[in-house]
Each structure stands twice: as structure tokens, then as C-alpha cells.
């Protein structure tokens, strides 16, 4: 074997990949050639030391656990026959579908529950109207404490005749009246006073004949609602609830 061939076969010999005959020739040449022998020794040392210091990256333990968990088939494949029988193939899908259905139903219920009822929405409107009347300094179109002045003022402006009652003897003097717009229609707003407080009484025709007074509080305002003889009444004020109820009671007398 020539020196040229020896240097070509260096790696293969180091790696013990030379066939038997070539190996024998390679060794015979090294025994005779000092230069090739030196070259081989040097190469072997370089290769050994580099190889021994080449880092072997081991998979991190945490990664191995994650991988195993990822590869492992679902529990049902590893459990007993009885358990497997209870969990046929379609089960997970059916359960998933069930969960989705329940979630959708719950969402729907929440949606319905959160949506205010028509009457609550109306109560909100009534309170907004009350606040607006105070803010815009547009409390009354007709300023009068006389029911006989206020009531005729509405005629021709509304398709109904609101009952205007003077409650000054009960401590709720009439202050005036105006037109307002609620529940998609023009309504009568009567303005009463209680000391420094203002009470707005909204009234308009209702399909309901009679319904008892309902008290509620919206944004800090007290609201009393009732219907009487096909008329809906909404009294709104910042006076306290007993006084507003008293007002409602006096009005129905």
C-alpha cells in the first residue's frame, strides 16, 4: 500500500471500517514507513481527544416527561375492558358535544337573564326622563299650581286627558306640567314638589286595567309604578321611598 493510499484510508482505519485485507496492508505499511506511522499516531490522538470532548446533549428531564405525556395514548386505551366498554369511541365526542351544548344554553340563559325586562327598560327610561327634566331646566311647559290651568293645557296636545290632582294639602303641591316622550309615545308629565324635591309623575294610557304599586330604586332614584283605569302611572323622585309611596297613595285616593 502506498503512502497516498494510507492517508486516504486513515479515517476508515481509525473507524475500523476497512475490510480485513486492506487493514492488513495498512498495518504492514505503518510497520515499514516511519512518516506514515507518525502521521497515524498524531491523527489518532487528535481524533480521540476531539471525540471525547464533543458534547453529548442529553434530553432535559422535563422535556422527556412532557414528550412521554404527549405520546401516551388516552387513558381509555390503557384501562380495563370494563372501563373501555363504558367509554366507547364516540363517548368523548358526545361528551364534548354535551359540554358545548350546556355552555351554549347557559350563555343563552345568562343573556336572557341579563336582558332587562320591558318594564325595567321602561323604568330606566322614566328615570332618564326625570333626570333630563331637571338637567335641561325644562321641568314645566305650563307653570301653575292650579290643576284647572294644567289640565286644559294638555288638551289638544295629547290623545288622552290626564287626571290632574292637587295634593298641596297633603304636602305635594303641584308645580306644573309638560309633554314628554316615553314608551314610544307622547305622555303627560306632571310636576309636583315635596319641600325642595321634585316629583315627576308620568302618565299615559295602558292596556292594563289595574295593577298594584310597584316600588323600585334606579340609580338612586325611587320609582313607584301602578296602573289605574287603563292609565299607567310612573312617579319618580329623589324623595325617600315612604314619602313617594305616600304620594302615590294620596294620588289614587
Amino acid at each position: 500500500m502506498s503512502c497516498q493510499k494510507v492517508s486516504e484510508f486513515l479515517d476508515a482505519y481509525v473507524d475500523k471500517e476497512l475490510d480485513v485485507i486492506s487493514s492488513l496492508e495498512f498495518e504492514r505499511h505503518l510497520a515499514e514507513c516511519v512518516a506514515c506511522r507518525a502521521k497515524y499516531d498524531q491523527y489518532r490522538q487528535i481524533q480521540d481527544s476531539t471525540k471525547s470532548r464533543l458534547r453529548y446533549f442529553r434530553a432535559p428531564e422535563e422535556f422527556e416527561q412532557r414528550l412521554r405525556a404527549h405520546l401516551r395514548p388516552p387513558e381509555r386505551y390503557q384501562s380495563s375492558n370494563i372501563r373501555r366498554e363504558w367509554f366507547p369511541k364516540w363517548r368523548p365526542w358526545a361528551m364534548a358535544a354535551g359540554v358545548v351544548a350546556v355552555l351554549l344554553f347557559t350563555a343563552l340563559l345568562l343573556q336572557i337573564a341579563r336582558r332587562p325586562s320591558p318594564s325595567d327598560m321602561l323604568a330606566q327610561q322614566v328615570v332618564s326622563s326625570h333626570i333630563r327634566s331637571l338637567l335641561a331646566n325644562h321641568l314645566s311647559d305650563v307653570v301653575s299650581s292650579d290643576q284647572h290651568t294644567v289640565k286644559p293645557w294638555f288638551s289638544g296636545k295629547l290623545d288622552f286627558a290626564p287626571a290632574v290632582k292637587d295634593l298641596s294639602s297633603q304636602g305635594f303641591p303641584l308645580a306644573g306640567g309638560r309633554l314628554d316622550y316615553l314608551d314610544n309615545r307622547p305622555v303627560a308629565a306632571l310636576v309636583y314638589k315635596r319641600r325642595q324635591h321634585t316629583i315627576n309623575l308620568f302618565l299615559w294610557p295602558s292596556p292594563i286595567l289595574d295593577s298594584g304599586p310597584r316600588t323600585l330604586t334606579i340609580r338612586g332614584y325611587n320609582v313607584v309604578h301602578w296602573t289605574h283605569s287603563h292609565m299607567a302611572y310612573w312617579a319618580v323622585s329623589d324623595v325617600n321611598a315612604p314619602e313617594l309611596n305616600q304620594f302615590a297613595h294620596d294620588l289614587q285616593d
Binding site: 497516498q4 492517508s7 486516504e8 486513515l10 479515517d11 476508515a12 473507524d15 471500517e17 502521521k39 498524531q42 491523527y43 490522538q45 487528535i46 481524533q47 481527544s49 476531539t50 471525540k51 470532548r53 464533543l54 458534547r55 453529548y56 446533549f57 442529553r58 434530553a59 432535559p60 422535556f63 422527556e64 414528550l67 412521554r68 404527549h70 405520546l71 401516551r72 395514548p73 381509555r76 386505551y77 390503557q78 380495563s80 375492558n81 373501555r84 366498554e85 366507547p88 369511541k89
Partner: protein
Amino acid sequence: MSHHGWNNRPDDEVRKDKYESFETTVLPYLNSAYNLARWLTRNEHDAEDIVQEAFLRALRSFDTFTVGRDARAWLLTIVRNSCRTWHRQNRSHETTVEWDVDSQPTSATWSDPEAMLIKNADSHLIGQAMEQLPIEYREILVLRELEELSYKEIAQIVGVPLGTVMSRLSRARKELYIRLCQQTGEMGR
């Protein structure tokens, strides 16, 4: 597998058996897979992604694995191919320099000081030198120096003829040693 009742679901049984077999024949080579992917991608994060992907692929195609074959070589082939796919998708990460990786190696001779530099190179330096090499060299060095696979096994994994493995490995070592000389401040050959 304790009971074999009439109500056994055959595909479940197969799947369970398949996984158990996979767990005992392929999973033990996780470190080999990770080591190769880590050297080829040069970072842990991508290595983990590739290994996970490769194991999923291996599990899916475990039916094609014939018992008695070398599971490590089989797994490393999948890892290696996953790395190639990954590199094609992340071309920017890989050396853009064109290498004639299989050119006939010129005989390497080292002066004594050069040989000393190479022999004294520590793991860190060797790692740095490795990372500068083209992927074909890193791959063959990992398979030979760390996995100690035979040329024949390497030829199968890399998909090249035996003679190519021999010349490429020779070239790869030479390039690595040249870089070790250069990194220690002295000019290589």
C-alpha cells in the same frame, strides 16, 4: 392486558400494544434523537420541537418498523429528515456559504504545535467550531463520533453511498480540526 373478553375493541388493543412496544423499543433512544436535533438546530428550543415532531411521526409510522431492525437508526433517520424539513422552512438559520461537502479530501498533515492546539481544545471550543460547520458535516460527525454508528448505518440514515460517507467524514473532521486551530489564535494549515 389481563382479560380477553368477547367485548374487546380490537383497534384499542392494537393501539395499546403498539404504544407499549414503541415505548420499549424507540423511546429509549430519546437522548440520541435529542442530541442529533440539538447539534443540527444549534438550540434547545428547536431541538425539542423537532424531537417531539419526530417521535409523533415515528409513532404514527411504527407499523412500518419491522421488529429486529435497529430502532435507533430508524429513529435517527426520522429525526434527521425532520431537521431537514425544519431547515428548509428556516433557511436563514443555516450557513449560506456553498460547500462542496463531498470533495475529495486532501491529506491532512498537522505541525506539532497545531496538533497540540487541536488536542488541547476544550468542549466549549469544539462546540463553537462544530457550529460553524455545514449541516452535512455536523450530522456525520454526530452520527460517527457520538453515536458511533457504522459507515453502513450512517449511509442509510443520511441516504448517501458508503464511499460518500467515508470521504465526507474525512472532510468533516479535517474542517473541524482546521477551525480548532484557527479559534485558538494560530492559523490553521
